[in-house]
Amino acid sequence: MKELVEILAKALVDKPEAVEVKLTEKEKSIVIELRVAAEDVGKVIGKHGRIARAIRQVVKAAAAHSRKKIVVEIL
């Protein structure tokens, strides 16, 4: 799951080396925190959050069988 967010983010940004992904597993949810270079933030969020929404959609599909709620936060 962590790897998936990393692959997606690195494919979208100009500075893939600055991409950082942290996964925290909680009782009922998994929180994935995504950090990118300041100038790349727009590239993972998009107009009206369209890119962020697409990333969350794909991650949600990957986590479908895990029964835990999955949250992707962009910091």
Binding site: I7, A11, D14, A54, I55, V58, A61
Partner: protein, 206 residues
């Protein structure tokens, strides 16, 4: 990545030899000059040939295919990825087991994946290509279903003498319906509302 190192009397000649070896066109490669040619004394003593490294650039389609493969693998899925590419479009076909997860409700996940891969592939350079991803023939089937639905609702609009509004659809799906009903002269179609809730209305012609 395919690359060769060639030498020749001039840079041009070395590049030409390399291209012949790779079977590639100048526009598909990047050239790095490793050493410039030197004439030397009487053209013999101390003469140095030009040496170049010529690398074949990955096409947008190849990059898209590699990315899709990486994404589905990291999703825990195992699928076969086939890429068709022409000057304007990249079409990617994914086939395998348990691919329903990749499609999602009404293709939501597939559309998200297609959007992201399109962005990633068209990120840099001037060259842009439309990316379409299909899983197990889903899009073809969906288009067929949409056409059937369009015909049914057109009949309904005509029978009732009233407009029929469809549920919100994306631009591609709306296009399929407009095209399907274009040839009918008993009804006409138009879209209303704002993205992403834009929808088609079928109205009877008087």
């Amino acid at each position: 990545m395919k690359e060769v190192v060639k030498s020749g009397k001039s840079v041009e000649e070395a590049v030409k030899l390399a291209l012949a070896d790779l079977g590639a066109a100048v526009s598909d490669v990047s050239v790095e000059v490793l050493s410039e040619p030197a004439k030397g004394l009487f053209g013999i003593l101390g003469a140095k040939p030009a040496v170049v490294k010529v690398t074949v650039k990955d096409s947008l389609g190849e990059r898209a295919g590699v990315l899709v493969k990486k994404i589905i693998t990291s999703m825990g899925l195992d699928g076969n990825v086939v890429v068709h590419e022409n000057e304007r479009r990249i079409e990617i076909e994914i086939n395998g087991d348990r691919m329903g997860a990749l499609i999602g409700r009404r293709g939501e996940t597939l559309n998200a994946l297609q959007y992201l891969v399109g962005l990633a592939v068209n990120r840099s350079e001037g060259e842009r290509k439309r990316v379409q991803i299909d899983v197990g023939g889903y899009r073809k089937k969906r288009d067929e279903t949409l056409r059937e639905l369009a015909m049914k609702l057109a009949d309904k609009a005509k029978q009732r003498g009233r407009s029929v509004a469809l549920e919100p659809m994306n631009p591609h799906e709306r296009r399929v319906i407009h095209m399907a009903l274009k040839s009918r002269n008993d009804i006409y179609t138009f879209s209303e509302g704002e993205e992403p809730f834009r929808k088609i209305v079928i109205s009877p012609r008087k």
